[in-house]
Amino acid sequence: MADDGVNTKVEAVSKATTETIELRTEDGGVFDVDKPVAMEFLILKSFYEDEGRVFDKTSIRLPNVKQLELSKVIEYCTRALEFGAKSAAAAGDKDAERMVRQEREGFEAEFVDELSNEMLKELILAVNFLDIKEMLDFLIRSVANRIRNRSVAYVRQFFDIENDFTPQEEDQIHQENAWAFEGVDAD
């Protein structure tokens, strides 16, 4: 398969040969994605199922997604499916369930730790476009964790927001909200 971008082969979820689908990102990346993982992207799922298309190895172009983001998305979704399967297998055994949960929490913590604020935001846009609910929930929780208990300045910087309040307006809103900050340490 000729290509000028990165050609990544994703490890199959199961040992048997799984159907794969080829996804092309807007910056030339080409990915062979296992069907179960690809079907987690609801935008693809409805494309096939709703439209009644046959699932063949045609290539799909994703205009809003770059290769770095897509590789991260594929990584997360592949692991999420694995954890889902492990969880189902452990059902009923409290200790095994707890182990799977802890393993997943460990993976998610590491996964999000490696993401810069920029990357986190880009991923949200990509996952929003691809319509992957579980991963979007995870990313949103991660954003909340990043801005929790942070100063106004930090939140502005995180979202790239410009302060459009006048100094008087800022003072006033600060005073109105002072009640919620009693007893909280400065950021």
């Binding site: 799909i60 935001k121 929790r148 208990n149 979202f159 927001i161 302060n163 309040f165 919620a180």
Partner: protein, 475 residues
């Protein structure tokens, strides 16, 4: 390879909430994702972070300062029951929507309660006689009173009901609805599960401890008026030892937790048990919770459930007869239930020296906090103070510890409230219960200081007063 497909690319994909004005030049593209996602993020944040977000720019201030967002915040922090109860009582006053943001602020900054005497002094009406260690509950729009101990150390076995509805401040009209069933007792517990009452244990005036369970249901007939029927619950497992002066609370609408109390031979217990009721409330199964550490043995303490998930244990009298002030929390539902003690130093709390108590009441009030009232100290001095216990800052055992230091966590844990209006007598072993919104607390009976005799085993004075404690809010 044939030509592939191309997904439609949009710059504002995914639900596009917010309508016109959603795309905005202020901020990175992420601020243009559906408003719903931003709201989801906000609802994961503490209040100060939500307000910091509002202070970033005008657009986000408008987003945050909306009452529908604050209704969700109230639901999150106070529990859905309070919010629904407030909404349904508001329908009567024909207001459009409650000012949730203003309400949240008011409730957070409450520092006082207002008391009103509801005792009907007209000599004509038959009233429940003065008593202590009875049970008082708010269920199916009614106040229900059962049993207790009275003059001469005798037990009572009468059930009284008063319809309240939505008019919380009117004088109550008590109606005696039952006598004899369940058998007379005091120091029992009675908790509300949905539309029913679940009564457990207690001591009768022969000193016999009980461990039977009774389920009570209120019915309002058009012609017969209000009736309450009690029936004995079929227990299909090992039951906890018989006891009185234990603590109990309901969790959700099918579980009851109990702890401690005084068992056979007058020994104080420290065990924890959970009762699970069947869907039709016809039978129940007990399970003991064995964890270490767990709250030491005691009696006359309280167990209260906050928001359906956290149980708080406070105070009581321990094995060595000492009066306690420790606070323990149980987080439910967790795969492994564990009691966690919340350590705090009395000297760090203004007027904290009056905190240790037994025979007090602890009732969940609006705002997800506990209102603790009355009780007595180790010198048998009865109290008349109101304290609010706030455990919202304490993270659950499964949550990663945040940057909050322990001083910050514990700073807002205890707050002494002022009481304005009617000044009730200091009392202990009274009972209190709140309406579903958590704004109105009813308090009945208890032991008060005798005026003629000094306090002694034969000099107990039982009180028959009913008063209302209100959280004053401007809706």
């Amino acid at each position: 390879m044939n030509a592939g497909y191309s997904m439609a690319g949009t710059s504002n994909a995914g639900g596009g909430g917010g309508g016109a004005g959603n795309s905005n030049s202020n901020g990175s593209p992420i601020t243009n994702i559906a408003q719903d996602h931003i709201i989801t993020i906000l609802l994961l944040l503490p209040i100060d972070s939500i307000l910091s977000f509002a202070m970033t720019c005008k657009r986000f201030r408008a987003l945050v300062f909306s009452d529908s967002l604050w209704e969700s915040i109230c639901r999150r922090d106070w529990g859905p029951k309070s919010v629904d109860a407030l909404k349904s009582s508001n329908l009567h006053s024909q207001q459009q929507q409650l000012p949730w943001m203003r309400l949240y602020k008011q409730v957070s900054r409450l520092e006082s309660v207002s008391c009103i005497n509801l005792t009907y002094t007209d000599g004509e009406l038959v009233l429940p006689r003065p008593r202590a260690s009875h049970s008082l509950n708010f269920v199916s729009d009614c106040l229900v009173l059962f049993g207790g101990g009275c003059e001469g150390g005798r037990h009572l076995d009468d059930t009284w009901v008063s319809y309240i509805g939505k008019d919380f401040q009117k004088m109550l009209q008590w109606q005696k609805v039952n006598s004899g069933i369940p058998s007379g007792r005091f120091g029992h517990t009675c908790v509300v599960m949905g539309d029913c009452l679940v009564l457990f244990g207690g001591i009768n005036d022969h000193g016999d401890r009980q461990n039977d369970i009774w389920v009570g249901q209120v019915t309002c007939h058009e012609t017969l008026g209000i009736t309450l029927s009690w029936r004995l619950l079929d227990v299909q497992s090992v039951a906890p030892a018989p006891r009185g002066a234990h603590a109990a609370c309901s969790i959700d609408d099918r579980l009851m937790l109990i702890h401690g109390g005084i068992g056979l031979n007058g020994l104080r217990l420290g065990d924890t048990w959970v009762l699970e009721l069947s869907e039709n409330l016809c039978y129940g199964v007990w399970r003991e919770i064995l964890t270490y550490p767990s709250p030491p043995a005691r009696s006359g303490h309280t167990l209260t459930c906050i928001g359906g998930t956290r149980i708080v244990l406070f105070g009581g009298r321990g094995l060595g007869y000492e009066v306690l002030n420790d606070v323990w929390i149980l987080d439910m539902p967790e795969t492994c239930l564990k009691w966690v003690q919340i350590p705090y130093e009395l000297p760090n709390i203004p007027e904290g020296v009056s905190l240790p108590r037994v025979g007090h009441s602890a009732t969940p009030i609006l705002g997800g906090r506990l209102l603790i009232y009355g009780g007595e100290d180790s010198y048998r001095h009865r109290k008349d103070d109101f304290w609010v216990l706030d455990i919202s800052a304490i993270p659950s055992i499964n949550v990663q510890p945040t940057t909050l230091n322990s001083r910050g966590l514990l700073a807002k844990m205890w707050k002494r409230f002022q009481a304005i209006g009617y000044k009730p007598n200091s009392r202990s072993f009274h009972r209190a219960c709140a309406d579903p919104s958590g704004r109105y607390l009813y308090v009945f009976g208890g032991m008060i200081d005798g005026f003629l005799q000094p306090v002694g085993s034969s000099g107990l004075t039982f009180d028959g007063e009913l008063f209302l404690v209100e959280l004053v809010l401007q809706l």
